[in-house]
Amino acid sequence: MQFRDHRVVGGIIELAARYRDEGADELVFYDITASPEGRSVDRSWIRRVAGVLDIPFCVAGGIRSVADAESVLNAGADKVSINSPALERPALITELARRFGSQCVVVGIDSRVEDGEYRVYQFTGDPDRTRASGLGTLEWVDRVQELGAGEIVLNCMNQDGVRRGYDLAQLAAVRARCRVPLIASGGAGAPEHFADVFTTARVDGALAASVFHSATIRIPALKAYLRDRGIEVRP
């Protein structure tokens, strides 16, 4: 399990300010143990991070109701991302889209290849509670769009944390049936992985955590690299 042994990477506010100054195009704040622990993301953290950010800010972690989402948005998030709670109760996607608009509603999908098929996993923030949801990834991608998702973040678990590149085949398969923005997640380890995922899988965004936290890849250098390869990026 690539999610084991989460590392504390330093002050969240300092990290957020660093990414803001380095030219990150969006910040996603995942409280990944919130759902398995049956709680929801800490509002005071959201408020403090939002206070320093001038880029889009998406928050995930145990958001189970319209009221949960409303308080997260009121604390300064621009979008909410739901994963396990959407699997437990898919109607939540529609409720959130009706209240806040689909542009506010991101659905995160943790997917892994199992016997040659893409399968959705749940509670991936806790290795001991992680379990197969019983859903195929492609059918879930179709379903969440029908329900009102405005964006999909596909986290390819076989790749996650191993830094060998995004799962291009899986992302391309999802791209083919995804009409809303698709964000790639899991596997980024080198600048060429970002170039590959934009050109091969035609995703709208690429998400990474560990390589940025550890400064293995710096965002300004990554953007210069992508620009040199003809991929449009914000300077």
Partner: protein, 197 residues
Amino acid sequence: MSQVAIVDGGGANIASLMFALERLGHEGVLTTDAGVIRAAPRVILPGVGAARAAMERLAAHGLDRLLPTLTQPVLGICLGLQLLFEGSEEDDARCLGIIPGTVRRLEASPDRPVPHMGWNQLTVTRPVPLLAGIASGTHMYFVHSYAADVGAATVATTDYGRPFTAVLAHRNFQACQFHPERSGPAGARVLANFLAT
């Protein structure tokens, strides 16, 4: 520190705008009170959500009649830009009618998902104080499914399947389709320009 009245159209995520004003040394006051809005030196009409719901909320407080009569600088943001027009295709909403024209839905295509969500470039078509220091090619952050056609009030455009109004200026009313509070230093500059008018 001067106060900016932020018209409460019912959108949930006003906090990011409040924080942005704070960073620029201004205080945003979220309100539906006609007296507060009329007396404010500057007014911001924000809004994420649906046009009809926002108009119903404004009408409930008599603001659908008040807003067109304002004479101080007014800045519409995102849905706030769209509400300045006569109407929107979104739920066939009747809007404030300050600027002629109807807001139309963006057309999705396989490589162009709707909502349009992300960073996109401006083309400045008329230099106005609101765009001081903002050159064509500057990236701003957009989140929308509807857009206003390019017209007499347009001062900057963006292309997403078709060119649309990214920034407009019409009398004391100015507006941007993108979110300046979430568009990095360039967005902060637009807000600072508005606060300096």
